[in-house]
Symmetry: C2
Subunit: 480 residues, 2 copies
Amino acid sequence: MEHNSWAATREEHLYLRIAGVIEHQIAHAVLKIGERLPSVRVLSKEQGVSISTASQAYFHLEAKGLIEARPQSGYYVRFSPRQFPAMPAKSQPLRQPVEANAADIIDDVYADLSDTSLIRFSVGVPAPELLPIAKLNKTMQEALRELPGSGTEYDSLAGNQRLRRQIAKRALLWGGHLTDDEVVTTTGCMNALAFALMALTERGDTIATESPAYFGVLQLAGSLGLRVLELPTDCLTGVDLEALKKALERQKIKACLFVSNFSNPLGACMPDEHKKALVRLLEHHNVPLIEDDLYGDVYFGKSRPRSCKSYDESGLVLWCGSVSKTLAPGYRVGWIAPGRYLEKIKRLKLYHSVAAPTLSQEVIGRFLENGRYEHHLRRMRQMLHANMLQFLRSVCAYFPNETRVCRPGGGFMLWLELPSHIDAFDLYGKALRHGISIAPGHIYSLQGQYRNCMRLCYGLVWEPRIEQALKTLGRLCREV
Amino acid sequence: MEHNSWAATREEHLYLRIAGVIEHQIAHAVLKIGERLPSVRVLSKEQGVSISTASQAYFHLEAKGLIEARPQSGYYVRFSPRQFPAMPAKSQPLRQPVEANAADIIDDVYADLSDTSLIRFSVGVPAPELLPIAKLNKTMQEALRELPGSGTEYDSLAGNQRLRRQIAKRALLWGGHLTDDEVVTTTGCMNALAFALMALTERGDTIATESPAYFGVLQLAGSLGLRVLELPTDCLTGVDLEALKKALERQKIKACLFVSNFSNPLGACMPDEHKKALVRLLEHHNVPLIEDDLYGDVYFGKSRPRSCKSYDESGLVLWCGSVSKTLAPGYRVGWIAPGRYLEKIKRLKLYHSVAAPTLSQEVIGRFLENGRYEHHLRRMRQMLHANMLQFLRSVCAYFPNETRVCRPGGGFMLWLELPSHIDAFDLYGKALRHGISIAPGHIYSLQGQYRNCMRLCYGLVWEPRIEQALKTLGRLCREV
């Protein structure tokens, strides 16, 4: 996946193309750490662009932490991805499903999602500074003015027509085809996953997930009385298909629930051929796939990765998404394209909630309609990619040498495997006393694994106090 | 309940007090149908009020359909509640619980909640004209301006603090005591009921409801695999406690789900002593009560009826409400005060939806805070009470003589028992061809009862085409 990020698309700005070339040279050690880059003037001549464009290219690389400006001297290469620490090995969970029974510790860690006094590496949402709040508010004004009843009336059962049309349209971006009628809106993505699990399973059934898996899914499974089979997962390519194949032959699995693109917490993105093979395998066993694709729009590469849904020929894939990671977590706007389970999902939505909130769906529908979303995503992806590299660099610089780190090609999360003698829950407690909150690894499994792991969310504005917090975390690790 | 409406509180306007006295005289046949009322001038002298106040009193009674102005002649008594048709007898459902398996017909009737081309007697929501939309929008502007991130951020798990404080404060109105911490917000009231049932029951369990009961509850029970014991219910006093007592002795009931105030569809309001006895009975059997109190604020009497929750000493009552019937169905703002099940409900909310939508809760919190809500409710109750009387009068005038009608003391619904040879589903089809949608009775039971019944929602603006539609319905009934 990584290589995608060095290439720039034709649609992107000129300065990005130039920055991309330099980034590629740094990545492949054509330009070495400490090496001086051509001056802005020279670069502008070489590339046949304006001084301003050349400067922008350097600013962009500087923001990503790849180069640094030294006063009266020029720009120097600061950092090479070659230096990155090792990656964690493929996970090795138990081969037996485990009764989902989420630990109280999660409640402690997430006691209050809205406590903003901490540096919250623990919360997997974009910081407000990354969101287009003024533009959303402007769109809200339009919606209040033009929507009958200003959004006080019940929405239709399937959900806001404008929003569903945009979601269907955007299927082209992930290689699929959808019509409005195949999409049902929900109150956020967790709500979509909940309806999907309720539609497909009964108490005592087994579902399969990645390992480590998003703890929210494990908790949801627990509340529905399900057993969870965690599957070996690679932090680049996602769930191990061979292991899944064997499990399907061995036992009854009622549904799979995978995050296909930039999974949480590993940041894995299944290669296209894996996605296709996965869908074929599940078709063969007639097992539905709940595809949680809520990070798909936050890619650092050339284009949006495909979804498993794009390979779905038999309606077995329930594709779920939301704008909680890109626009407005608090709006609670999500959706599901549930394939052959459409009627079942619509009924569940009706019975459990009557309808989704009218106004917020309309605002998001309008926002997606007029190109504001694409503009925003482009800026957001650049910031997150830069953040991710800064985090990687900081882990390199401050954490114990044996620390292993994943290489997300998108999303918000960095998964760290610390030296095995470190207990991340102890670390969590210590960090909290420094005003830093992290997510300890063992909440991402029902099997007591990943005790020396942690997840860091980099959906923040990069600033000195963030680097300082990472330095503090690194010191706390070294002190153990 | 009825007598409450003849009395006026001190806080109410002078004209309402005078209108109340006249209404009382009409009700008790002190003033007879066709009798001429004193002129405005005489009334003003008699009561020692201004001409304008006297006129307002007559306008008010005219709006309620109780008197009529004859040109050049004055006001005449038009209608006496004494003439009202008979009420349905107490319902007689089976003594056995029935597997909840809601009929497809409900999907037909409610295929599209948002189809506004019909005269929708079928939809139990207030018409937009009854809602304070401009004031809600104004409050929305305040919230957008003052809320951090303009509502894009996740709300706290328990829900908006401002809203929970107001809900807790308003508990005084229904005779109870609540603190903010005992309240959890939800995405509408159905969502509160869904979480309550998920917290209390498992597939195969039996719950008890009124009969007839709101079809949404029957559908929800079905989706959770529950069995439903429908209980005999009186259209004035609600569920038959003696029958419930016997049922509790006979079989395991996991939870009761009752609409304590102005039930849907009967419009029954349990007397205080029934509420108290019910809570004591359930305490004795250690069976929790899910109290759906979403119509409680829409009373036609002197003051808000109490809730069962106000008699709850052991935390067995899960009190649920929303503003969907009074302010904004499309906002999806509801809540639950779940007593001893607080932690369980909070977890379910977290696992199934992360949080409730941020902005709409804040808007409702602010609206409740500043007295706008009370002002709006006063106006809305008057309109609905007048509507209810107009509907009653129209049923009297246009429907077959044997038609029986309930006497709601609040809420939105009129329940009609038509002559036994009439099939309300046939009537539904015929009415639809006249652009009128009604809710046929047998969707309110799992036992195939109430086939000659229907529910009419009077949450509309009373105007000639509404009376015309009722006339058409009456004619269709007579033609059967």
